[in-house]
């Protein structure tokens, strides 16, 4: 009954919230991929344990296709411990 009076503008908030949640979920996936990759490059000796399936799924395809574009990141050994202490 109440739905009869609903205006288009009353529904607009669903689109806003939906966009935020979908965009937010994508952002979190991209962010976490970046964080894990950053940590692997900063400290390649002790990678985090992740499920096998998840790790395979998370491996970005473009980097596999063009490995020569990636220059390994090398922090100066004297700076690493002092200036890059906490992630």
């Amino acid at each position: 009954m109440a739905l009869i009076a609903v205006r288009l503008i009353d529904l607009a908030i669903f689109a806003s919230l939906g966009t935020l949640w979908i965009g937010g979920a994508i952002f979190i996936v991209v962010l976490y991929r970046w964080i894990l990759r950053f940590e692997r490059e900063r400290d390649p000796i002790a990678p985090d344990a992740v499920p096998v399936e998840a790790e395979l799924a998370a491996t970005p395809e473009p980097e596999r296709a063009e490995p020569e574009r990636i220059v390994p990141r090398v922090l100066p050994s004297n700076a690493h411990g002092a200036l890059a202490g906490h992630v």
């Binding site: 529904l11 607009a12 908030i13 919230l17 970046w34 344990a49 499920p51 090398v74």
Partner: protein, 845 residues
């Protein structure tokens, strides 16, 4: 009637709570001493955390983003600039001085009477002004012309600060000019202003111009010409080179190291905002999970009508989101625990001696017992869970004992997980302290909560630049190399997507995703690595001095300022610092710690600089903690004296603060202000100043306006004593009407409070959603809150200086009714009282 009685009941002090407040005070002091003892035992970690140097790129990005929003925040008031900040606005110059800086400008004459000249009466009056805290040029010059010049000075200064040109100079100027505008009038202030004032003060203290700035670009260009810059492909790889035969002066790094404490203070401040606002949200609406529902249904805030969504989600999803806010805000400060713990582990500092470990344990146990004692003593005078005080206090102690055991387990015998949800991990995951600090208390969890929280508010509600200011603080949690890597990766990705545009604009190293430039080599000989430091006994003496000052005041209440004890203690510590600096002159710490093999970050300052900055940091953090003690009757006896001790410092540094947003409960009514003007012919005009009128309620609401906040403050939709604004606003409406109607004043101005109650979530759920305009029409209330009869109202007439500016007919002299404050007589009486008080003190001595 019932509402009035309840309001009066709220103001009745809780006698039982007042009676226990001294006991609570002593227990809190004991807890503070325990915290201080733990920190003294860990003094080496404390000073390395706060007083070392770091990569400048983190704070540099914060500077750029935050300053952009500083400008946006001030410009957000553009439509009210002349109304708020000039002599043609709501407060003329003399009134602004009187209502916003009465004590500070008590010795400044308004020139309204022949025997009350304009200007400072004497040097004592100048000194009184210089003591602050409201340093605004607009208290002296505030014609529209001057204001616009002042505003442009701020805008230019802030833009130069943002791009990093003469960064220190323009940072200080931006801070001064922004506050010069803001303190002229508090009517439009929101929590936003507090965020920008606090964070800008910290930012100005950071050497943020040493990266991503015009200053650093000019410096590098100059050094490059002189052949003294260490570059990516040359010696040092950009991190600098020590003097050698090849480079007698050495090579300078691209990014010099800067003191890290301002960035860490910003982190601490953000955590403080959250924990304060989270713990103050103790009202029944928060506890029942309905706060988001009510906040979202405030007509002054929503961007899009939320009522339909509220009717569907108000009793379910919104409640979950409310608890996510409450828990997230209260728990956000744990991010600092995670960050600092990981930093301590990475530093591999040698363990404390057995004695110090025991002192730490005893102090921490004392803290837990002290807090349990506070709960136990305060239990009878508060709303509490339905269990006894003994059970609650026991539970509290039990929780801490459990956490201690868990921490030991994580430290010495961490959990090892082989399977998750039935899936075998390729490598077993070790759940130890580092893991907990990353995946539960880490930035990746709590900063994501912070982003999500503000993104939701930003999407659903329009509260100006509060969100942007808070979101900008996210960058303060990132270190220089993280920011640089992030920017490189974004640039790299964009250059691949847009190779012909962005690919050609960004540096080649970014396109190729080359390693980021390192910050300065911590081993450069020019960096500070002295061995000086305050011995632990001196720190204990310092702690004793602070406690002694408090005891002297409470026990003896001497006629002299008890803070002299604190100053004396600071003097002793300064002398010890000087002695240690001399005794250790020439000694240098090794770059790599021989025991741990970890590279030590260099000091940010020399020994004396560290003593000064370290002391100020302790003072400032303590001051903010004291300032933010909640306003409860059970704290009455010590809260006000404590705040008085630190007020001057916090106010003058623009870091005085309060974070009770939507606390203890959010409003549950929509309140508007209607302004009715009766003109000279008796016709009544509704000025349609609030969102009860369609023209004031654009949907979707994109651009913020401070009008709504000001209306709430004037008409009584905000907490605190704000009704005094009403007369000044009504008088301004009298003047403004005359100004816009050929100088003819209206008969009267009425301020009407309009409000309606927001239906409860259950009502909306059961009966269906409502349309705000219809509900206001059906169930709204109106009440005249103030009536100004313009002819006889003080300052209700358009003064001649504005009439002259506008070319309007002048008023006869006797028709204007100024506000005579009789300042000169009062100032002389004040000086006399002060003289007598001094004489009486001398006699006592």
């Amino acid at each position: 009637m019932i509402g009035t009685l309840l309001a009066l009941a709220d103001e009745v002090p809780n006698e039982e709570a007042l009676a226990i407040s001294p006991t609570i005070g002593w227990l809190m002091l004991a807890c503070a001493v325990c915290v201080a003892l733990v920190l003294v035992m860990h003094a080496e970690r404390w000073r390395r955390w706060w007083l070392t140097a770091e990569d400048p790129r983190g704070i540099a990005v914060f500077r750029i983003v935050f300053t952009f929003f500083v400008i946006a925040n001030i410009n957000g008031m553009w439509e009210f600039f002349e109304y708020l900040y000039t002599d043609e606005g709501i407060f003329t110059t003399d009134v602004a001085r009187q209502v916003f800086a009465r004590e500070q400008l008590a010795g400044y004459g308004d020139g309204l009477l022949p025997d009350d000249p304009e200007g400072f009466y004497d040097w004592a009056a100048v000194w009184q002004f210089l003591q602050g805290p409201k340093y605004s040029l607009l208290f002296f010059w505030d014609s529209p012309g001057f204001f616009w010049a002042h505003l442009w000075a701020f805008e230019i200064s802030a833009v130069l600060f943002m791009i990093g040109f003469r960064t220190r100079l323009f940072g200080v100027l931006t801070w001064f000019l922004m506050n010069s505008i803001l303190v002229r009038n508090h009517l439009a202030w929101e929590g936003t202003e507090l965020v920008f004032r606090c964070m800008l003060a910290y930012l100005v203290l950071a050497r943020s111009g040493q990266a991503y700035s015009v200053d650093n670009w000019l410096r590098c260009r100059k050094l490059r010409k002189q052949g003294r810059l260490s570059e990516r492909d040359g010696p040092g790889g950009g991190a600098g080179v020590a003097p050698s035969e090849e480079h007698p002066q050495g090579l300078e790094p691209v990014y010099r190291l800067i003191p890290s404490w301002p960035r860490k203070l910003i982190m601490l401040q953000l955590a403080t905002i959250y924990i304060t606002t989270g713990t103050l949200k103790t009202g029944s609406v928060w506890m029942s999970g309905d706060s988001l529902y009510y906040a979202l249904n405030l007509d002054h805030f929503y961007r899009l009508p939320p009522q339909f969504l509220s009717s569907l989600a108000g009793t379910t999803v919104f409640r979950g989101m409310t608890y996510a806010v409450k828990v997230g805000q209260t728990g956000f400060a744990l991010i600092l625990f995670g960050i600092i713990t990981r930093w301590i582990i990475a530093q591999k500092l040698p363990p404390l001696s057995a004695a110090r470990q025991w002192v730490t344990r005893i102090a921490f146990a004392g803290l837990v017992l002290g807090t349990a004692g506070i709960v136990f003593v305060a239990y009878p005078v508060h709303f509490t869970p339905p269990i006894s005080a003994e059970a609650f206090a026991g539970l509290w102690i039990g929780v801490w004992a459990g956490l201690w055991l868990l921490w030991r387990k994580l430290t010495y015998r961490p959990f090892v997980v082989h399977k998750v949800l039935g899936r075998t991990l390729r490598r077993p995951a070790t759940i130890d302290r580092v893991w907990v600090c990353k995946w539960i208390l880490g930035r990746r969890v709590l900063l994501v909560w912070h982003l999500a929280f503000h993104a939701h508010i930003f999407t659903l509600m329009n509260v100006g630049q509060f969100q942007t200011g808070m979101l900008a603080c996210t960058f303060a949690f990132l270190q220089g190399d993280e920011i640089a890597t992030l920017l490189r990766d974004i640039g790299h990705r964009l250059s691949r997507v847009f190779p012909r545009t962005i690919g050609k604009l960004v540096p080649r190293s970014v396109v190729e995703r080359a390693p980021i430039l390192p910050a300065a080599d911590p081993g450069l000989p020019s960096l500070r690595r002295d061995t000086s430091g305050l011995p632990q006994w001196a720190l204990l003496v310092g702690l004793g001095g602070i406690v002694a000052g408090i005891l002297v005041q409470v026990r003896f209440a001497p006629s002299w300022d008890y803070r002299f004890v604190w100053m004396g203690t600071a003097g002793v510590l300064a002398a010890v610092a000087l002695w240690r600096a001399r005794a250790t002159r020439g000694q240098r710490l090794p770059v790599v710690d021989p025991q741990s093999g970890v590279v030590r970050a260099p000091w940010a300052y020399g020994p004396i600089g560290r003593a000064i900055v370290g002391g100020l940091l302790v003072w400032h953090i303590s001051a903010v903690a004291v300032w933010l003690m909640p306003d409860k009757d059970c704290m009455k006896s010590f809260r006000e004296p404590g705040r008085k001790a630190v007020a001057t410092w916090l106010r003058n540094t623009t870091t005085d603060q309060g974070w009770g947003m939507f606390a203890p409960n959010p409003p549950r009514s929509n309140v508007f202000m209607k302004v009715l003007v009766t003109d000279a012919s008796g016709h009544v005009w509704d000025l349609k100043t609030d969102v009860y009128a369609e023209e004031q309620k654009p949907i979707p609401w994109i651009w913020n306006t401070r009008l709504r906040k000001m209306n709430r403050r004037i008409i009584g939709g905000e907490s605190g004593p704000t009704a005094w604004y009403q007369k000044w606003y009504a008088r301004w409406e009298c003047r403004n009407w005359a100004r816009e109607h050929g100088g003819e004043a209206p008969r009267k101005v009425e301020l009407v409070k309009v409000w309606y109650k927001i239906p409860s979530p259950e009502q909306t759920h059961d009966s269906g959603y409502y349309i705000a305009e219809d509900l206001l029409e059906r169930s709204g209330h109106e009440k005249v809150s103030y009536t100004a009869h313009c002819e006889r109202e003080v300052m209700g007439q358009l003064p001649n200086f504005i009439r002259e500016r506008d070319g309007l007919p002048l008023l006869p002299e006797d028709e204007y009714r100024p506000w005579h404050k009789d300042k000169q007589r009062k100032w002389e009486a004040h000086l006399e009282r002060r003289r007598k008080a001094r004489a009486a003190r001398r006699d006592e001595e």
